[in-house]
């Protein structure tokens, strides 16, 4: 999911974090204003403007009716109709963190919207010590395919904290949704509850470490159903599997409409010239996002056509590897005044929004990717988008229809040239890209999917009881 929004901390009215003993270190650092003291480069290492150095006050969360102008009244009618039969029923969402991370960001929006539809939704966060989160972090990496030797001690820690949480939590709701592997073993409570149990897996399980997956699989198999973010992220399981795409909130600071004057002001602050073509990649300074490859592609394209390159992201000040990658990017950029490197603090959602809106083309040249919500954000802004065919990106970019898929630096360079010189084609794929997002990847789609799933599970239970 997209980068974390620290404002979620105060914007979330429903999360139960009572027993969380410790906020993960990365979350603390993300809230620190000191992390904003970093440089913005346009050849001359100019500092970031003062306006981005402190987190802004979070806006109030939107209401369902606010989405009407975007998705249409008929979509809201559908949500209300679907929700009607669940009035009085309850849902519990359980994950491992209340702040930071895409899952928390998504739950921050989903939970209030479901509750506004009178499907009362509780959000619980599991607790654990450092040892638990070290184990689950290692599991997370191993499930993404990293080498890992699963030990009995790691299994014991995982099971002990899951058991502690299981005893602490009540599961009196009608639908229990467990997010990701960390709390997966809570399903052991299932036989004692009337609820439907759903495992929502947000990570890519296509190539998991066999030891960790074989350990977790028996827990997953006990759920009524599992949900994945892409067909390619799944594993063979004895339970039904559904596809829920990750979603963006069109009313969030990162995606809401902005006045052109605000876009202009932010571009002026960063030294971005809107009178010339702007090619942008928004991502952490991480090798898997290949920012150096983007610089190389830009340089190849620049031989033929004038443009600027904006690399906007974060992660360099609280991640040693990020700082190294940032340095590599600066070296690759050399003294080209048209390459603008912005290492932004995590609360710069409006600034990212404005940069995306000002861009002529958006690039996401990742070498590996989860779903790639930065691509979703670009498509939502109707931007012609060039992205690598990795992870969940092909779900979003249908080649030459909703964007352009590339497989190399040279391919990326060519597509930059092509899109900059064929504005009508660029506009057409940008416009289809926005429709694709509206159809599949907005928060209201997520609400609808949960209501549809609830209905399908209830129907299945009804049929089973009837047959019995």
């Amino acid at each position: 999911m997209s980068s974390d929004d620290p404002r979620a901390i105060s914007a979330n009215p429903t999360v139960n974090t009572q027993a969380r003993t410790e906020v993960p270190r990365r979350d603390v650092e993300r809230r620190s204003p000191h992390s904003a003291r970093r440089a913005s480069d346009r050849g001359n290492n100019r500092p970031l403007p003062a306006s981005v150095l402190t987190p802004p006050t979070p806006p109030p969360p939107p209401h369902l009716d606010d989405y009407g102008a975007i998705v249409g009244q008929s979509q809201l009618d559908t949500l209300r109709y679907l929700a009607k039969e669940f009035k009085g029923k309850t849902i519990k969402m359980v994950n491992s963190t209340a702040v930071g991370g895409g899952v928390a960001e998504m739950l921050n929006r989903l939970v209030p919207l479901l509750s506004e539809l009178e499907v009362l939704t509780h959000w619980d966060v599991i607790t654990g010590g450092n040892d638990f989160f070290e184990v689950t972090k290692a599991f997370h990496n191993a499930l993404h395919g990293a080498p890992y030797q699963l030990t009995q001690a790691a299994k014991d820690i995982f099971l002990m904290y899951n058991e502690q949480n299981r005893r602490r939590m009540q599961f009196g709701e009608d639908l229990v949704v467990i997010h990701d592997p960390q709390p997966a073993a809570l399903v052991l409570s299932r036989p004692h509850t009337p609820a439907h149990w759903v495992w929502r897996c947000h990570i890519d399980l296509s190539n998991p470490n066999p030891g960790v997956w074989e350990f977790l699989r028996p827990f997953v198999a006990q759920y009524d159903t599992a949900i994945f973010s892409s067909q390619s992220f799944t594993q063979q399981l004895p339970i039904p599997q559904y596809l829920f795409y990750p979603c963006i909130d069109p009313l969030s600071e990162k995606n809401k409409e902005l006045a052109d004057s605000q876009v202009q002001q932010i571009c002026d602050e960063f030294g971005i010239d809107r009178s010339r073509p702007i090619v942008t990649q928004v991502s952490r300074f991480d090798r898997l996002k290949d920012p150096v490859g983007v610089v190389q592609a830009y340089k190849l394209a620049k031989k033929y056509i004038d443009c600027q390159l904006v690399l906007a992201g974060g992660g360099a000040s609280d991640d040693p590897e990020g700082a190294t990658v940032l340095q590599e990017v600066k070296e690759a950029a050399g003294n080209d005044p048209d390459i603008i490197i912005l290492d932004l603090p995590p609360w710069c959602a409006v600034q990212i929004n404005a940069i995306q809106r000002a861009s002529t083309i958006i690039v996401q040249k990742s070498l590996k990717e989860g779903f790639g919500l930065t691509v979703t954000e670009a498509l939502w802004k109707a931007k012609p988008t060039i992205a690598s065919a990795v992870g969940g990106i092909p779900n979003q970019i249908l080649h030459k229809l909703t964007g352009v898929l590339v497989h190399s630096i040279e391919g990326c360079a060519f597509q930059i040239r092509y899109l900059l010189t064929h504005p009508e084609f660029a506009r057409s794929i940008g416009s289809s890209g926005r429709e694709h997002v509206k159809e599949n990847f907005l928060m209201t789609n997520d609400v609808k999917r949960w209501l549809l799933l609830f209905r399908i599970l209830e129907q299945a239970k009804g049929q089973l009881s009837h047959a019995a």
């Binding site: 008929s74 559908t78 067909q231 063979q236 596809l243 249908l398 289809s432 429709e435 694709h436």
Partner: protein, 229 residues
């Protein structure tokens, strides 16, 4: 210019006995167990997957991509081109008009025929690994009522203009699988309840592959408006 038949049709307009209920179908995508990593595996799977998988990758995918005016017709064509680099096969798959079928079985047979013939004349293509597998999916469908129910042509137009494009797809494209005939809910109602046979025929002839679903909506509305005035 109004033809004699046209004028006769207008004069024969009648008040419907049954109103038109606009419904909407919503779908939840279920990930199937079968996948194909090359064209031979696709052929085998096409013959055995449940009907709802064929429905998903043809009728439903057209709905999912309703906003694309050209270049997308079904998932088999898309995969053949972008994962298997077989443009000739992709063109053949893409040429299949789902509206020529009133049952999934016929559509499945047509897809199998196309692929089988292609593999017979392209021996090497069958086992060449695709860039990415084809994942067979299916949809759990929930049909929901909308707030629109038309007992006049004006109310029909109001509903038509306000329902979601999914409702248009439900009545205009999926309908033939329900009706088991080469028609759609709109044409059926306009002809049987109002007596607008020519308009019903014109609506049935709208090319869904050269239009977005919004474009289809506009064309239906234009045809019905012309019938009224």
């Amino acid at each position: 210019m109004a033809t004699a038949e046209n004028l006769a049709e207008k004069s024969a307009l009648r008040k419907p006995q049954k109103p038109f209920y606009f419904n909407n179908s919503e779908h939840l995508l279920r990930i199937g167990r079968q996948r194909a990593s090359d064209l031979s595996a696709l052929l085998q799977a096409l013959q055995t997957v449940p009907d709802d998988c064929i429905f998903q990758h043809t009728f439903r995918t057209l709905q999912e991509h309703h906003f694309i005016r050209q270049g997308f017709s079904n998932d088999f064509a898309h995969w053949s081109l972008f994962a298997c680099n077989e443009p000739a096969l992709a063109e053949q798959f893409a040429s299949v008009d789902v509206r020529e079928f009133t049952a999934i079985e016929g559509l499945r047979r047509r897809m199998v025929e196309i692929l089988d013939e292609f593999l017979q004349s392209h021996n090497m293509s069958g086992s060449r690994p695709a860039h990415e597998p084809f994942y067979f999916c299916a949809a759990d469908i929930v049909v929901l009522p909308t707030a629109f129910c038309a007992d006049t042509l004006k109310a029909f137009l109001d509903g038509l203009n306000q329902v979601s494009v999914h409702s248009i797809h439900h009545h205009f494209i999926e309908a033939r699988l329900r009706l088991h005939r080469m028609s759609n809910d709109f044409s059926q109602w306009l002809e049987s309840e109002i007596g607008l046979r020519e308009a019903a025929d014109a609506i049935e002839r709208i090319d869904i592959y050269a239009n977005t679903m919004e474009g289809v909506r506009r064309q239906i509305a234009r045809i019905v408006s012309q019938s009224i005035h």
